[in-house]
Amino acid sequence: MTAQTATAETTGFNWKEWVFTTDHKRIGVLYLIGSMAAFVVAGIMALLIRIEQSTVGPTITDDPAQYNTWLYFHGAAMILAFLIPGLTGFAANYFLPLMIGAKDVAFPRINAFSIWLFYAAIVLALLTFVIPDSPDVMWTGYPPYSVTTTGNTAFYVFTVHLLGFSSILGAVNFLITVIYMRAPGMGWNQLNVFVWTTVAAFAIQLVFIPVLAAAVTMLLFDKYLGTHFFDAAAGGDVLLYQNLFWFYSHPAVYVIFLPAVGILFEVFASMGKNRIFNYKACVYGGICGICLITGEVWVHHLYVAGMPDWLRIGQMVTTLLISVPVGLIVLSMWGTLWRASITYNVAMLYAASCLFLVLLGGLTGIPLALTAVTIHLSETSFVHAHFHFIMALFSAFALFAGIYYWFPKMTGRTADGPLAVFGFWANTIGVNVTFWPLFIVGVEGMPRRYWDYEMFPQFEPYHQVATVGAMIIAVGMTATILNWIISAVRGPKAGENPWKSKSLEWTHCPSPPGPGNFPQDVVLPEGWTPYDYDKK
């Protein structure tokens, strides 16, 4: 044991230790802070959107341009600056090396470069609120509108570039880390499910991000350099962009979904002291299966975009087939609770509520997989509610479960006080009050992205209920974030392994881990798995 592997008893705050850090744990914490900051700002936008929708006609703004900017920022920031960096940036950075017994990632300096690219992107995104003619192209940026608008589409493009670059570097880094830096003797079938889901997410990022980068770069060229990729009048094609965009952005759903699923497996296994049910079916059928099909389903985002009929029918079948790998994952998740021995804490509460969020979000995706049904439902609040349940709420709740689960590892303290429990119930009630009414008005024909809905005054009461729900979430999230900050400083001390988990990050390193992570080299006993609770 050398001085380098001492525990992280710091002697006071030194900003240089954070700005110039190459330690994967500190970078993870920086990702968490950055993504939560994006979450707070984008969440405030959501609240403004909901308040505006609470009455027919102008409520808090009579300027649709203002409202469109909120929509743009909410969508782009929640997906690109909160969910993806929160799940792959924070959770993977901090815990993946610990789970595989590595002292750090393969390329720590590239990792440090990634985090500062991410922060640059956040600053660029925040400039939305101060520049004249802020971007108003939604997070999708469809041309010709994004090209002809007076809004500054360039800010959208450069934000995507920076985040994409950051993610590609992260993907290379983490894939190489898992391939080459696992503890001696750790085989692929002994990895935590979270490690597998993260590997899958990064593999997807690496393959598909360049396509998005190309698409938005072509936007930039069309708007500022006079090219005509998407200009039908000059021989371009308006649909090219949508195809390229969704070729990345559908897989991006799994970049968010998979690590969220991975966190849930860790929480269920540790809190239920149980092995993963049918691990190999989950990993090779479920997680790898999603990776295989994910690039063949993007047309379901273009079901009403005038694509050839045979393509829409073909991708209806592939889209429905996604239910096979997702079904295997769900089955393993349910099975992991079978005959478990569950200890409840806040992490487990969030994880348990995810079981219902994934059902709601996943099953409402089935009608949307059918081209003929989507003809009526696309671009309505039904879609809006569906993807919030499966992507936003499910993944955010899974991330919060992970934050509570790993809080003692990061801070040496627990965060399970009454404020946390209050926050959980407020959030759970809030999301259901917000999004159930949107399902209902969606089926009745309420379009998305409407500043006003004077032609559908009958929907007003539903919007009002949804707005009340958003306010409940705001209260819940304020309590949650306050609780994290207070607990990090003053929470009750947790032992090394408060949940009595068998996973490597709990059994082999102190809380919080010092530089180099492990006081001793990790030696795994024969037949070790992170889930062998029945072994003494």
Binding site: Y142, K273, S323, L331, W334, M455
Partner: protein
């Protein structure tokens, strides 16, 4: 290769036989949509309730009795593991193909307008719609004879819009440089059509009324339109 051709010919035959009933009265996307929607709602509700009930049962039933207890989840044999993967996968796939077949059926209705359908050209602008009838008359609201199928051939003069009539369960994007179509069977009375592809500042402010009139009222309306358009046409010709 010939096998594939035979197969494709078979598919085409199925579609063609589908269009044979295309001219019948009941051939109508909107009630078809409602019917399929109800079936799918039952399908997903059953799955959701089963999985949800099992989850609730396990979350209460398998609480730790004492803090040192560990879970007793089954360790699967190879045969069990494979069965637990293949059988559920087969069940999910069966449901997928069942729904695909149903969805394809309705899709064929949506995409094959009856041959006697009346055509109206729809042109989208930021931020209004223009409807041009076969006789050249252009209007700003869509008036159609009730009961008769109507096909809209749609195109945009600027950005992408989407023409949506919630009541008739139809929607398709309206783009520059391409012509898309929807068809529906209007009823007597008014329906709202509105834009559902984000198109900028007044995206929410381009609703238009779709009016279904009896054939006699429609004919009278059309004569009126032609009368009011004629002096304009004469003036512009001179």
């Amino acid at each position: 290769m010939t096998g594939l051709r035979t197969l494709m010919a078979g598919f085409v035959g199925v579609i063609a036989s589908g269009t044979a009933w295309a001219q019948e009265e009941g051939y109508n996307p909107a009630p078809g949509w409602d019917h399929l929607w109800n079936e799918i709602l039952i399908d997903i509700t059953v799955i959701g309730v089963v999985f949800g009930a099992v989850a609730i049962y396990m979350l209460f039933k398998f609480k730790a009795k004492n803090p040192d207890d560990v879970g007793k989840g089954p360790k699967l044999s190879k045969a069990q593991a494979i069965s637990w993967a293949l059988i559920p996968a087969a069940v999910f796939m069966a449901d997928d193909f069942f729904l695909s077949a149903k969805g394809w059926d309705l899709w064929n209705v949506y995409r094959n307008p009856p041959e006697d359908a009346m055509e109206v050209k729809v042109t989208a602008y930021q931020w209004y719609w223009e409807f041009t009838y076969e006789n050249g008359i252009t209007t700003e609201e869509l008036v159609v004879p009730a009961g008769k199928p109507v096909v809209l051939r749609m195109s945009s003069e600027d950005v992408i819009h989407s023409f949506y009539i919630p009541k008739y369960r139809v929607k398709e994007d309206v783009m520059p440089g391409r012509v898309t179509y929807v068809w529906f069977r209007p009823e007597e009375g008014e329906a709202i059509a509105t834009c559902t592809e984000y198109c900028g500042l007044a995206h929410a402010n381009m609703p238009v009324t779709v009016v279904g009139k009896s054939q006699a009222d429609y004919d009278a309306w059309m004569v009126e339109q032609q009368a009011s358009a004629a002096p304009v046409a004469a003036a512009s010709a001179s």
